[in-house]
């Protein structure tokens, strides 16, 4: 069973870290872009969205050029003891970059959908700009952000191309589920491949169901569920 467990746990670990990083970086970038009044904004947004449209192999290549031993930052990373090529941390980097636009896009739309009047109301009530972010803007945008984070996790879990190029295929160290399946098929090991495919599918279904429950109800900010609740209360009252 190690043939299944080891890559499964590694996949979850890599996707988990990538999602955590994206939840922070993607939300911060989306907030900055949504508030930024400049013509450069669209160019920056386009560059940050590139991972969504570029082939993963191209991204993997870019990452090698940047963080590889002889890459732009390679020597510097080496000196401070960070090794990204052929390590699971490298797989995290690849998954993070690939899934980043999914958080960015949904979080930006969510932030831009927040009614500015509410932020003004908080301003007049004396709450600082940071307070307004945590008390009004973020809660109002939370539903859109959560949807993006769930998508990013799913994308990171299925990452193959860029991960293979940066982290390679070292069983037990960088061999994630999708890479393990590829290798099993290449080696003609149908039993392992079947098992891995089955496990991957079940894992994804379970995760999507769980994630669907974690995303806050349609109400937060929009008011639908609250209205439904009010309606129910009225109906009970009669």
């Amino acid at each position: 069973m190690d043939a299944v467990w080891v890559p499964l746990l590694l996949s979850l670990k890599v996707a988990g870290w990538a999602t955590l990083l994206n939840a922070i970086l993607g939300v911060a970038a989306a907030y900055a872009i949504s508030r930024w009044r400049s013509s450069a904004r669209d160019v920056v947004d386009a560059i940050l969205t590139l991972p969504l449209v570029l082939p993963p192999t191209v991204l993997g290549y870019y990452l090698l050029v940047l963080v590889g031993r002889r890459g732009v930052f390679g020597a510097w990373l080496d000196r401070i003891g960070i090794e990204l090529v052929f390590t699971w941390q490298g797989a995290v980097l690849a998954s993070t970059v690939v899934a980043f636009p999914l958080v960015l896009k949904s979080a930006r739309a969510a932030f831009e959908g927040v009614d500015h009047q509410l932020e003004n109301a908080a301003r007049v009530l004396g709450v600082s700009e940071t307070g307004i972010f945590f008390r009004v803007t973020l809660p109002m945008a939370l539903r859109g952000i959560s949807a993006g984070v769930v998508l990013a996790f799913a994308r990171a879990l299925g990452e193959f191309g860029a991960t293979l190029m940066v982290a390679g295929n070292l069983p037990g160290r960088t061999q994630t589920l999708s890479v393990a399946i590829y290798e099993a098929v290449q080696a003609g090991d149908d039993n392992t491949a079947n098992l891995l495919v089955l496990v991957t599918s079940v894992t994804c279904i379970v995760l999507l169901v769980v994630a669907g429950r974690l995303v806050p109800p349609a109400a937060r900010g929009v008011g639908e569920v609250y209205e439904r609740r009010a309606f129910r209360r009225e109906a009970v009252g009669k």
Binding site: N120, A122, G131, F134, R233
Partner: protein, 240 residues
């Protein structure tokens, strides 16, 4: 209460150019601004609250300078101690009535707790008879209740002045009459000065001692007592 205001601002959009050029002084507790929609009433209120930056001018409330383009003073809205009742009330939909009312009582990073009601908030909950709905959300309450919650939220942090932007426009006629009376008795019982803007002559007549008429971004006339509207005394030359 004393209020000296001059505000100048040009707003240019693709198909419209608008120049706001407002100047008035008042020591009334009940100021009403009256004028058709698009005349610059809301812009004036937003400038007083600090939500709109004038190009030049001066805003002084009770001797406290909130804005002065010449000496570079421009207090952020957070420091103006001005309450603003928005036309659509702008209640926070993700917070309960109690949390909405207590919102301005702490300025930190966290919202008031759901089941807690600080005494300053409780005072206004009782004053407006909102006890029964404190745990409900804004989408669950009626228009009149929304207005009371918005007023309670605005008054709880003890502002120096309350600005009311078309307070009755979102209400049906019957409710409008009732809320107008409620606001009138609130004015009578509170020390807090109020500025009401409206396009409805009736609101102005009932809620304002000092009435300013605004048209196309300028003060068109100014009157006090019961002689308005529509008869206004011409403005003194230095104000206009």
């Amino acid at each position: 209460m004393s209020m000296q205001i001059t505000i100048r601002k040009r707003l240019v959009s693709r198909d419209r150019q608008f120049a706001l050029d407002i100047g008035f002084e008042s020591d009334s507790h009940r100021i009403a601004m009256f004028g058709p929609s698009g005349s610059g009433k809301t812009l004036t209120l937003r400038a007083i609250a600090g939500l709109l930056a004038p190009e030049s001018g001066r805003i002084v409330l009770n001797g406290r300078t909130l804005f002065d383009s010449e000496s570079g003073i421009d207090l952020p809205p957070q420091e103006r101690r001005v309450a603003y009742l928005f036309q659509d009330y702008a209640l926070f939909p993700h917070l309960t009535v109690a949390q909405n009312i207590a919102f301005g009582l702490n300025h930190g990073w966290r919202n008031p707790r759901r089941r807690e009601l600080p005494p300053e908030a409780a005072h206004w909950v009782d004053a407006f008879g909102l006890r029964e709905i404190v745990n409900q959300y804004p989408s669950e309450i009626s228009g009149g209740q929304k207005q009371r919650v918005a007023l309670a939220r605005a008054l709880a942090p003890k502002p120096d002045i309350v600005l009311l932007d078309e307070p009755f426009s979102a209400l049906d006629p019957a409710l409008r009459t009732r809320m107008r009376e409620e606001l009138l008795s609130l004015q009578a019982n509170l020390e807090v000065p109020m500025v009401v803007i409206s396009h409805d002559p009736q609101d102005v007549e009932i809620l304002g001692d000092h009435v300013l008429e605004i048209r196309e971004g300028r003060i068109f006339g100014s009157g006090t007592g019961k002689r308005h509207p529509p008869v206004y005394a011409p403005l003194p030359a230095h104000v206009a």
